[in-house]
Symmetry: C2
Subunit: 121 residues, 2 copies
DNA sequence: GTCGGTAGTACACTTTTTCATACTATCTAT
DNA sequence: ATAGATAGTATGAAAAAGTGTACTACCGAC
């Protein structure tokens, strides 16, 4: 019978939190969505749609629903015509902002060194 | 003709670095692989295979090759029998460690508050 | 001679994710 | 009457990701 796993604390090495994080913010659009919402504070569905170049409506809906059910986003529905729905960070989502900023800073510095951030001249 | 995009710096809002980061560390196993390699300094193929519960050999190979070609991992081949290949972080990979640690810390604190890190008692 | 150990590759298959397109509802403005 | 605006849903197709199984190569030990 093949011994297929390490069998003590070595095995785990904190894979649980890292795996959970991956499952929550993995996916093609999530950190980008979180970034936009944190950056603009509030975003409507259509705004996100236009910003996320190439995403489809149904995919965006799905990603937003997942971020909502994972506790990152709050969804505020206004009973207006035409319909209006606003997305913003929950309190839980807000404590994720430093992580987003760390990622962003790293990415700007090391992944896209030639990228000119339009918000700092 | 439908105006489908925002047309100034508002549009961009740093989506480039964030999108690039997503494309580089997205994927089901990458941050977990980077975490293990940074944690143990050096990992052999088989060790990673055993740690990543459920991954297949071909998927692991593919993810490792991508991390290698994106500059995060170094692949050291020993001309021995049986074969031995060691993965470690490149210099570029090492400057990503703080980001990994930020993610890990957040995840341990907020995503898995009940998780007991086996390395701190 | 064949089993075990390591690091893969090759191929077909399944599952998951994403996309394209069409459609709904409701009010306002033309 | 109909077009436009918004936030979706539904459906099926396509693409991407992941899986399972079989196979290679090499050497030593049994």
């Amino acid at each position: 019978m093949a011994e297929n796993k390490f069998n003590n604390e070595e095995t785990i090495a904190r894979c649980v939190p890292m795996g959970r994080l991956q499952s929550v913010i993995g996916g093609k659009w999530k950190i980008l969505i979180l970034w936009y919402v944190s950056f603009y504070k509030v975003q409507r569905f259509g705004e996100l749609m236009r910003r996320l170049d190439g995403i489809t409506q149904s995919t965006l809906t799905k990603q937003l629903r997942e971020l909502e059910s994972d506790g990152f986003l709050h969804r505020e529905i206004y009973k207006e015509i035409p319909p209006k729905v606003e997305y913003s960070l929950t309190e839980f989502g807000k404590i994720f902002i430093p992580v987003l900023q760390t990622m962003m800073a790293w990415s700007e510095t090391y992944l896209c060194p030639d990228y000119q951030n339009p918000y700092e001249k």
